[in-house]
Symmetry: C2
Subunit: 756 residues, 2 copies
C-alpha cells in the first residue's frame, strides 16, 4: 500500500542530465514556489532551483523567465573537516523518497569516511498552509565520535537558464535569522529570503558569508551513535506579496513564527491540509498498481503546483520545475490541466481563470500589435505576468546553422483565445457560478470573440467566413488555412459570447449594458451571430467520415512517421518551422483533428471519431506530451481501450520515466509535464469512467480497463460533491456534501448512467 | 566603328566555367534554335548546345527542360593524323568574334604542330530567313604540305542538364546527306537533323559513325599556303514543324536547297534580313562607345531569340542559351522583354502574346489545382509548351542539408496572371490592333481577372478586398499579404477586363456575347467593377510618401544588405525560402515597390518615386538580373541620372561581363539574360529618351545622360513608324512609313515633346 503513495530511488550521482531529471521528478511545490528535487548540499551546478510563481525577469536579449530565489534550504555537512556530498566517493547508501501523502521530500545518505559511518537524513516540505514557507528537518548520526560541522543557511549562487536575475544579493543577519535580499534585473522587484535554523543541541555557531552564501556554521563534537537534529525554516517574499511594511520583516516574522510553532506542528498543519486535498482529489484504481501509482503521482503534481488562493496565477507548461519554456502559461493549462481543477478542485480553477482576466490587457495589446492589427483579445501563446507574449518569433534553434528559426507559434496559433473562452464558459456551465463572468470573465469571452471577428475573412463566392493563416495544435504545419480545430474553436467562441450575453441580459442586465458600453461593442455584437452561422468548419467527408485537418492537408505527401524520422540527420533537428521534414507530409506533431473530437466530443458520433482516429493516429509523431492523452481519450469513445490504456500509462508516467524529448531544435525543454498529469487524470475520469458533464447533467458511461477492479473518485458538479465508485458490474454515484461557495441556484442532481 | 558592331576575344581554353560563359556570350540564335558560342571541334564536355525553342522533354523525376538537338555543326580537323583542338597545346593564336550586323559567329585558330602552322577558320550563322537552317563555312590553310583529314557531320553526343532526351539516335545517310533522328523520352516527339557538307576541292570522302557520331571524313593532301574551304548546311526539324510528309525528307530537302543556293547566297539573304532588323531596331548612342556597344549587344540578343513568325512561342528566361531554368518562360518576358518588341518589333510582340493565348488552358488547369482551387487563369510561374507549371514546389537547394527547400514561387506568385493581362492590353493600346483580343487575348484577360476574383478575400470591417498570401517580385519575402505590386496588378487586371469588355461591346458585340457565353461569365462580370473599386492597394504614407511593400514590411528588422550578407556561412545559401537570412529583415531581392512605380509610372509623382526609390534602393540586394534596370528606370524619372546610367550599364553588360550569380542555393542558373537585355533597352528608351506611350499619345521627355551626344532610334506606334533623334538641345521625331499590317483606324500622330 505504501509504495502506491511514494516514489523512491537509490540513485544520487550520475551525469548532469540524470541529476537534472531527478530534480524534476522529486520536486516539491506549494503553488507559491517549487523546490526542485535536489539534495541539501547541491548548488547551481546540480540545478538547484526554488522557482517562484508569477515573478519574472529578463536579462538583456535573453528569454524572460521566472526568477529562482536564493536557496534557503542549503546545508552541507563536514565530518572531521571534510565536506560530504552525495556526488562524492564516500557514499555507501542513498535513498530519496517523495511522499505523496504530504508532498514531502526525504533523503537518507550513508557516508563512510576515514573509517567512520555518517548518516545524513533530511525531510523537506513547502508548506501547504503558509505559501511563503519551506521547512526542513536535518539529522546527522555518526557511528563513532567525530567533529561534525554543518554549514547551513542561504545559498545566493542561483542556477538560472538566462540569468542572473538577482545580480547583487545583500546578505545580512537579524539576530538568529539570516536574510538575503536582491532585486530583479529588469524591474527591480524585491526578492528576500529569510532563514532560521535551530539545532536541538547546544553547540558552536559562527557566521560564514563567503562565496555569495549567507550561512551559519553549526558544530558538534558528536558522540558515537547519537543523532543530532536541527530544523530549518525559510521564507521567500517578493513584491508580489501584498505585505504591510518591509518584505524583510515579513520574511523574518514568517520564519520566527514557524520556528515558534516547531517542525512537528508545521508538518502537522501541512499534512492535514494535504489530507483534505487527497480526500477530494485522489483517484483510487484497484487491480492495477502501476496505473494507481502513476495517476496518483500525476494528481500530486497538479495539487502541488496549483496557484495560491487569491494569487490569480496560473500554471506554467513546466509548472514550477524550473525556468524551461520561460515559466510561461500555454494553452496547456486551459485544455489539459483546467478540467481536473474544474471537476476536482474548483477553487483552483477559479485562480486559473482569474489569471486570464488579470492578463486581459496584455491580450488586447497583443491583438493590436500582431499582424495587420486586430481588435479584442489575442492571448499570449506564452503568457507570463503581464499577459504580453513571451513567445519569440524565432522559437526553435536550427542545429545545422546554429541560427534561430522563424516559427509562427506566437502570431498564428490563434486558437489560444478560444481555448481561454471555452474554459471560462465551462466553469460557468459546470459550477453554475456566474460570479467570474461578472468579475471579468464575460469581458474575456467577448473580447476573444471580437478578436476572431476581426481576424476572419469573408469568401464571397462561398458565402462563408474563413480562418486563414494559422497554426493548429499540430505545430509542424504552420500558416495553414481553415484548420478544423481552430475554426471550431472560433465558432464556439462566438456561440459562447452569444450565450454569455443572453445569460447576463437575463440575470444581470445592468452589468451587461455597462460592459457593452465599456467595450463599445453595441454595434459589433449582432455580427457575432452571423459570424457563427457563416464560419466555415471542415466537415466529415460523406463517404469516409474524415475531417481534413486544414485546407490541402490530404494533398500532402502520405508517408509513414518512421520514414520522415529516418531522414533526420541531426538528432535535434526540428520537423516543422516551414522547412522541416514533416512539413510537406501528412506527419503531424500531435493530436489536432482528434483533439477537436475530444474537445467537442458530444458533437461527433463514435464512427466519426473512430474513422479520424484511425486515419490520424498512424500519422502522428506524438512529438508533444499533449498528444498521447488526446488519442487515449478519443480511443475510449469508440472502444479501443487497449490503446487508450497504453497511452494513458505513457501520459501518466511521462515524468516518472522521464523519457520525453528534452530538446526542440537546440532549445532545452526538460522539466515536469503538468499538462500530461492533467491528461492522465482526464483519461481516467472522462475516458475510462466516461464522465461527461454539461450545464444540464453529469453523465457517467463507464468503460473500465479490463484489469481494473474498482475506480473511485470524487467530483464537484454545480456546487455539489459526488463520490463515484465504479466496478466492472456496478456504477455507484453518491452525493456527498454541499459546497457552500457555489452561488448558482441552478443545481441539478447528477444523472446516474446505466452500468455496463 | 566596327568594334561597336562586334564582340571578340582571344580566350579559348580555361576551366569549364570559362568555356561555359563564352558559350553563353558568343551564342547565335534565330528564334527557332540557339547555337551556343562553342567551337566546331567541341563536344558535350564543353557544353555545346543547339537548344530548340518550344520542344521540351522530361526524364524521370528530373526537371523538364528544352531539348538540345544533335550537333550538325560538328567539325574536327586533323593534321598529319593528329586532331587539333582549341583546348589542346598546339594553339598559337585564337580569335573568335560575334558579328552583330548579321548575328554571325566567326573563329580563327592558328595551330602549330610538327613544325607546320595550320589556320582554321569558320563562320557560322543560323538563318534568319529559314528558321530550321544553320550554315557554316570552314577553311583550312597549312603553311607546309600536309595530310589534312576533316571529320565533319552530326555529333549525337548531346550535352544535357537533365537528359538524355533523345536516348536512341539513328544515324543514317541519304546520298550526300547525313541524317540523325531521335525521339524524345517523354512524348516520343521526333527530332531529326540533316547535314550536307560540300568541299570546294575534290578529295576522298568516307563515312564514320563511331561514338554516336554521324560523320564524313574529308581528306586533302594540302599544298603549302593553299586554303581549303568547305560548307556545312544543317537543318533541324521536329514534330512542332508543320511539315507535309516525313520530317527527315523535309530536313534533307532543306539542306539540299541551301546547298543549291550556296553559302554566299544563304549568307546574303540572312544578312539582308538582319539589315532590316537593325534598320528598325538599332539604337544609336553617340558619345559613349561603351553604352553603344553594350546596348547593341543587348538588342542583338533580343532580335536573335525572338520567336519565329507563326510559332506562338515565347522567350525563356535564359532564352536559347541552354536548358537553365528549364527553358521556361517567366514574367520576365512580359515585363522586361515585351516592351522592346511592342515598340520596335510588334510582329514579335504578337508571338509572345499568342504564346499566352495558346497556353491558356494550362493556366486554367493550374488555377483549378493550386491551393483551395481557383477559377480563371493562373499562369505558370515557369511555363513550357503546355502552360502547365514547370516550377517545383521545392525550387531551391539547401547547401546545409542538401535538401530541397519549399518555395512558393509556383503557388503564390500570383502577379504573373496580371502581368500577362497587362501586356495583352498594352499591345492593343499601343498598336490599336484588336485582332489579338479577338483571337483569344480578351479571353486571356477575362480569365486572369476571374482568377483574381476567385483569389480575393473580403475584409468586412475595412470594407475592402485583399490579396492574401502571395509573393511579390521580391522573392525573399514569401507568403505576404497585400503586396503593393501584386494588389496594383490585380486591380489593373479588373480595370483592363472592364475596358476590354467595353471595347468589344462597342466594336465586336457578337464576339463579346459568344465569349461571355463560352466562359459562363455573365453573372460574374459585373463583380469585376466592385472588385476593382474595393481592392485595397497600399498607398503612399501622407508624410513620407512611402508605400509599404506588404503588410508588416516596415516592422521588419532594418539592417543593411551588407550585414545580412556578412552572416552568410555558405556562398550559395539562399536568403529567402522562409528561413533565409533576409526573411526577417527589410532586405529585398529585387525591385518590388519600385517595380510597381515603374510599371505604373504615370500614376505616381516624381516625389513619390524619389521617396520610395531612396528608401528601397539601399535595402535591395539586386540578387536578380531584373532589379537594376527597374531602379535605373525610376531614377531617370526624378533625375538621378548618374545612378540610372550606372545601373543601365550594369544591366546592358550583364552577359558581356558575365559576373552574375550562377547559383541560387545549389541550383545552377548560368546562361544569357534576355530580360536584362530588354531592361537595358527600356532604360535607354523609356529612361534616358523619356518615351512614354499610351492609347492617346506617344510622349517623349528626353533626359540624355551627360556624355551622350546623340540618341537615335525608331519606334512603332499605332501602326506608324517614327524616327526619334535626340541631342542635348534638340528632340526630333519624324514619321517614317506606314506599317500596312496595323488594322486599327485609330492612329494619331505622335506628340512631340518640347526639347530641354
Amino acid at each position: 500500500m505504501k509504495k502506491l503513495w511514494s516514489l523512491s530511488t537509490t540513485e544520487h550521482g550520475g551525469d548532469k542530465e540524470s541529476i537534472m531529471r531527478r530534480g524534476n521528478v522529486y520536486q516539491v511545490a506549494n503553488g507559491y514556489m517549487g523546490y526542485r528535487g535536489t539534495l541539501d548540499e547541491f548548488g547551481p551546478d546540480e540545478a538547484v532551483g526554488i522557482t517562484l510563481a508569477g515573478v519574472f525577469d529578463r536579462v538583456g536579449d535573453a528569454w524572460r523567465e521566472p526568477v529562482n530565489a536564493p536557496n534557503g534550504g542549503f546545508t552541507r555537512v563536514a565530518l572531521d573537516g571534510v565536506e560530504l556530498s552525495a556526488l562524492g566517493d564516500d557514499v555507501v547508501r542513498h535513498r530519496q523518497t517523495l511522499h505523496f501523502a504530504d508532498a514531502r521530500f526525504e533523503r537518507t545518505t550513508v557516508f563512510r569516511r576515514g573509517g567512520k559511518t555518517l548518516t545524513l537524513t533530511s525531510s523537506r516540505f513547502l508548506s501547504a498552509v503558509t505559501p511563503n514557507l519551506g521547512v526542513i528537518a536535518v539529522s546527522v548520526t555518526c557511528d563513532q565520535p567525530g567533529e561534525i560541522a554543518i554549514r547551513t543557511g542561504i545559498d545566493g549562487n542561483i542556477w538560472d537558464l538566462n540569468g542572473p536575475h538577482l545580480p547583487e544579493l545583500a546578505h545580512t543577519r537579524e539576530g538568529d535569522v539570516l536574510l538575503t535580499a536582491g532585486r530583479t534585473h529588469e524591474s527591480g522587484k524585491h526578492v528576500v529570503v529569510a532563514e532560521l535554523s535551530s539545532a536541538e543541541w547546544a553547540g558552536g555557531q559562527a557566521a560564514d558569508s563567503a562565496d555569495n552564501r549567507n550561512l551559519r556554521v553549526l558544530t558538534v563534537r558528536a558522540e558515537a551513535g547519537q543523532t543530532y537534529r536541527f530544523f530549518k525554516y525559510f521564507a521567500v517574499f517578493t513584491d508580489n506579496d501584498r505585505v504591510d511594511g518591509a518584505l524583510g520583516e515579513a520574511a523574518i516574522s514568517a520564519v520566527r513564527t514557524a520556528h515558534a510553532l516547531g517542525y512537528d506542528e508545521c508538518l502537522a498543519q501541512h499534512a492535514a491540509e494535504w489530507r483534505r486535498k487527497w480526500e477530494r482529489c485522489d483517484v483510487l484504481i484497484e487491480g492495477d498498481d502501476e496505473a494507481q501509482h502513476a495517476l496518483r503521482y500525476s494528481v500530486l503534481q497538479l495539487l502541488m503546483v496549483a496557484p495560491v488562493a487569491g494569487s490569480a496565477n496560473s500554471i506554467p507548461a513546466r509548472a514550477l520545475s524550473g525556468q524551461v519554456y520561460k515559466g510561461a502559461i500555454f494553452w496547456d493549462t486551459e485544455m489539459f490541466m483546467f478540467p481536473f481543477f474544474l471537476h476536482a478542485y474548483p477553487e483552483k480553477a477559479v485562480e486559473l481563470l482569474r489569471y486570464r482576466i488579470r492578463t486581459l490587457d496584455g491580450a488586447r495589446r497583443k491583438a493590436k500589435t500582431e499582424g495587420a492589427g486586430y481588435r479584442g483579445a489575442f492571448y499570449a501563446w506564452e503568457s507570463q505576468d503581464t499577459g504580453d507574449d513571451a513567445c519569440s518569433y524565432f522559437n526553435v534553434g536550427d542545429p545545422f546553422t546554429g541560427r534561430e528559426l522563424r516559427t509562427h507559434f506566437r502570431d498564428k496559433q490563434v486558437h489560444i483565445s478560444g481555448d481561454v473562452a471555452i474554459a471560462m464558459w465551462e466553469y460557468f456551465k459546470l459550477t453554475g457560478d456566474d460570479s467570474l463572468l461578472l468579475e471579468g470573465g464575460a469581458e474575456v469571452i467577448l473580447e476573444c470573440a471580437r478578436f476572431y471577428h476581426s481576424y476572419l475573412y469573408y469568401k464571397k463566392d462561398k458565402d462563408r467566413y474563413e480562418v486563414l493563416d494559422v497554426i493548429g495544435p499540430d505545430e509542424y504545419h504552420e500558416r495553414v488555412n481553415n484548420n478544423a480545430f481552430t475554426n471550431m474553436v472560433a465558432r464556439e467562441t462566438f456561440l459562447i459570447a452569444q450565450a454569455a450575453v443572453a445569460h447576463l441580459r437575463k440575470k444581470h442586465p445592468a452589468a451587461l449594458s455597462a460592459l457593452v458600453k465599456k467595450l463599445r461593442l453595441a454595434r459589433e455584437l449582432p455580427a457575432f451571430a452571423e459570424a457563427a452561422r457563416k464560419l466555415y468548419v471542415p466537415k466529415p467527408a460523406r463517404k469516409t467520415g474524415l475531417i481534413e485537418q486544414f485546407d490541402g492537408y490530404f494533398a500532402l505527401k502520405d508517408v509513414p512517421v518512421a520514414e520522415v524520422k529516418a531522414k533526420m540527420v541531426h538528432p535535434h533537428e526540428y520537423l516543422g518551422a516551414g522547412q522541416g521534414l514533416a512539413v510537406p507530409t501528412q506527419v503531424i506533431k500531435q493530436a489536432d483533428v482528434v483533439m477537436m473530437l475530444n474537445l467537442f466530443k458530444s458533437r461527433f458520433s463514435a464512427d466519426i471519431k473512430r474513422a479520424n482516429w484511425e486515419y490520424y493516429e498512424p500519422r502522428t509523431e506524438h512529438g508533444s506530451s499533449l498528444s498521447a492523452c488526446a488519442y487515449a481519450l478519443v480511443a475510449t469513445e469508440f472502444g479501443n481501450l487497449d490503446f487508450a490504456y497504453k497511452y494513458f500509462l505513457k501520459t501518466a508516467k511521462i515524468d516518472l520515466e522521464a523519457k520525453y524529448k528534452v530538446y526542440a531544435g537546440t532549445v532545452f525543454m526538460g522539466g515536469s509535464h503538468p499538462a500530461a498529469n492533467g491528461g492522465a487524470w482526464m483519461t481516467a475520469i472522462f475516458g475510462f469512467a466516461g464522465v461527461q458533464a454539461d450545464a444540464r447533467r453529469l453523465a457517467i458511461n463507464p468503460r473500465l480497463y479490463r484489469t481494473w477492479r474498482r475506480l473511485q473518485f470524487r467530483l464537484s458538479y454545480r456546487g455539489d460533491w459526488f463520490r463515484v465508485e465504479l466496478t466492472p458490474d456496478r456504477a455507484n454515484v453518491v452525493a456527498e456534501k454541499t459546497n457552500r461557495r457555489a452561488r448558482s441556484p441552478h443545481r441539478r442532481p447528477a444523472q446516474k448512467s446505466r452500468a455496463r
